[in-house]
């Protein structure tokens, strides 16, 4: 195993610090504590403070939010460490940061910086067309996106401690968040009625390790928490995905953006943030939800996902 590693790749400090089981318990443990909550994309310390005051369970520190990346193009990379550190110093809640798919050196930098979670994210420009980061060798937990059960189980096999359905980031259109949640949950329900022989061929079809497929067939759920991301823009969107089975939500551009490129006024962003936080907790109570929706300011303008060309989609990166 070690002989595969080039001698100058500094893997030693990142080897498993604990036995894998204990390490995974701590990593999924933090995800358990985020359940029922909202993780908000922020680009500045000021936005992070607005998010925390509105009741965010965590923030995601970014250079640009997905709608800006989509509009401006260019290569999207890990945020500057100084920016992330500023955000870490500004709030007491967990701070996550994104690395490019397969960019284990960005992940090493983020771990060294001390972030609480790394999102190996399709929103950034992938660094490796074929491989994801080997997340088992890191101390810091990883979250990864998935469109279906096969993707989710492949990421878990690589060491992801938390899955978020991908949706289509930066659009404010919830349609693919819904699609991906239904795909994951539908496939899990299906597994629970298959017999032993069928499970084996299903594992092949899903492109996922048999052991994980069997585990899902036995329990009917993923072995790690399952959150939702990509296009959530209103309190009702949050309630929708929570009722579909998401255990928490990531909101990216939906809080701090007015259009794809223009930021919302801070007071509007604060009210939107609070409304989405409340809706995520009270997702099953329509009476409270109505009150929340009545008090919420308008959502970002958004882009209908159906008008995007295939090559404009972020969700097809890193499957």
């Amino acid at each position: 195993m070690m002989s595969d590693v080039p001698p100058d790749r500094p893997s030693a400090p990142y080897r498993r610090p604990l036995d894998p089981v204990s390490s995974m318990r701590l990593k999924t443990g933090l995800a358990e504590m985020l359940k029922g909550g909202v993780i908000m994309d922020v680009t500045t310390a000021a936005q992070a403070v607005i998010a925390e005051r509105a009741g965010a369970a965590a923030v995601m520190a970014l250079e640009r939010v997905p709608s800006q990346i989509r509009a401006e193009g260019g290569v999207a990379r890990m945020a500057a460490p100084a920016r992330i550190r500023e955000i870490m110093n500004a709030v007491s809640i967990p701070v996550m940061a994104k690395c490019r798919i397969g960019h284990f050196a960005e992940a090493q930098v983020l771990q060294e910086l001390g972030v609480d979670y790394i999102d190996e994210s399709e929103v950034l420009t992938p660094a490796d067309e074929f491989n994801h980061v080997d997340k088992h060798v890191f101390n810091v937990p990883f979250v990864c996106g998935a469109r279906d059960l096969g993707e989710a189980l492949r990421r878990i096999a690589e060491g992801a401690a938390l899955i978020r359905t991908k949706g289509e980031a930066g659009t404010g259109d919830v349609v693919h968040a819904v699609k991906h949640l239904r795909q994951v949950f539908g496939a899990m329900r299906q597994l629970t009625v298959l017999d032993g022989e069928e499970l084996s061929s299903k594992a092949k079809e899903l492109g996922a390790p048999y052991e994980l497929v069997r585990l899902v067939a036995e329990t009917g759920k993923l072995p790690v928490p399952n959150f939702c991301a990509g296009g959530i823009a209103t309190p009702a969107d949050a309630a929708l995905v929570m009722q579909l089975g998401a255990e928490a939500v990531f909101v990216g551009s939906g809080i701090f953006m007015a259009t794809a490129t223009e930021q919302a006024a801070p007071e509007d962003a604060a009210r939107r943030a609070r409304a989405i936080v409340l809706a995520t907790t009270h997702f099953a109570d329509a009476r409270i939800l109505l009150e929340i929706c009545e008090g919420a300011p308008g959502a970002m303008r958004g882009i209908a996902v159906s008008t995007l060309a295939a090559e404009e989609l972020l969700q097809t990166r890193g499957v």
């Binding site: 604990l18 204990s22 318990r25 701590l26 443990g29 933090l30 358990e32 504590m33 985020l34 359940k35 029922g36 909550g37 925390e52 005051r53 509105a54 009741g55 965010a56 369970a57 965590a58 870490m88 007491s92 809640i93 967990p94 701070v95 771990q111 001390g114 972030v115 609480d116 979670y117 101390n139 810091v140 937990p141 255990e247 609070r274 936080v277 409340l278 995520t280 907790t281 009270h282 109570d285 409270i288």
Partner: protein, 211 residues
């Protein structure tokens, strides 16, 4: 009070005793699983009205700032009234919410437990750890996640468990708090202690009320 005593009595005969788990945000699912494994009826609590239907409450880990925002002033008042009267157990963020004084940063709390607590005292997630502490005289595996530290324990507060010298499980009358996560392990002893506390009609509830 009379209603409360009735509920408590029903609990002793094995039916009707319901433990609420505050589900504003955080680790409520694992607490529910743990309590259900112990044969207790569980109800998730999201509004002040939900507090009326339960006999005891667990406040889970999660983000205390998020829980405070979600509860609002009205929710925090309802929690204060509940905790004065009925058994409550807070873990991690729940312990922070129950404390008399909170540091890093200072923030409002229910104040039912005479302890001072410092948030994220061991560091961030990379410093989260699983350690062996002592529950009375017996070892107990403890999961600490971005854990707070109890820095002062008032005279009326019992220390039930320690880890490396730090108090990590404390009780004052019918109010209990842990800085670690008993719900993330298979060991149910800590939840059992809470249920025994909650069902004990002789527990000194006065001390917490005076606090």
């Amino acid at each position: 009070m009379a209603r409360n005593e009735q509920a408590r009595h029903a609990g002793e005969s094995g039916s009707g005793f319901t433990v609420g788990v505050l589900a504003l945000q955080g680790g409520f699912e694992r607490h529910r699983g743990c309590l259900e494994r112990l044969g207790v009826r569980v109800r998730l609590v999201r509004t002040p009205a939900d507090l009326q239907a339960i006999d005891a409450l667990v406040i889970p880990g999660g983000e205390s700032t998020a829980m405070l925002t979600l509860a609002g002033d009205r929710g925090l008042d309802a929690l204060r009234r509940f905790v004065r009267e009925r058994p409550t157990f807070g873990t991690c963020a729940g312990a922070i919410l129950l404390a008399r004084a909170v540091d890093d940063p200072p923030q409002p709390a229910v104040g039912a437990l005479d302890i001072s607590i410092r948030r994220n005292a061991y560091g961030r997630q990379p410093q989260s750890s699983i350690r062996l502490g002592m529950l009375g005289d017996s070892p107990l595996e403890m999961v600490f996640i971005r854990a707070p530290r109890i820095e002062r324990v008032g005279p009326g507060v019992e220390v039930l468990a320690r880890e490396g010298g730090d108090p990590v499980l404390v009780r004052q009358g019918h109010v209990m708090a842990a800085t670690f996560h008993p719900e993330l392990g298979d060991d149910t002893r800590v939840h059992q202690i809470f249920l025994e506390t909650a069902r004990n009609p002789f527990i000194d509830r006065l001390s917490a009320r005076q606090a």
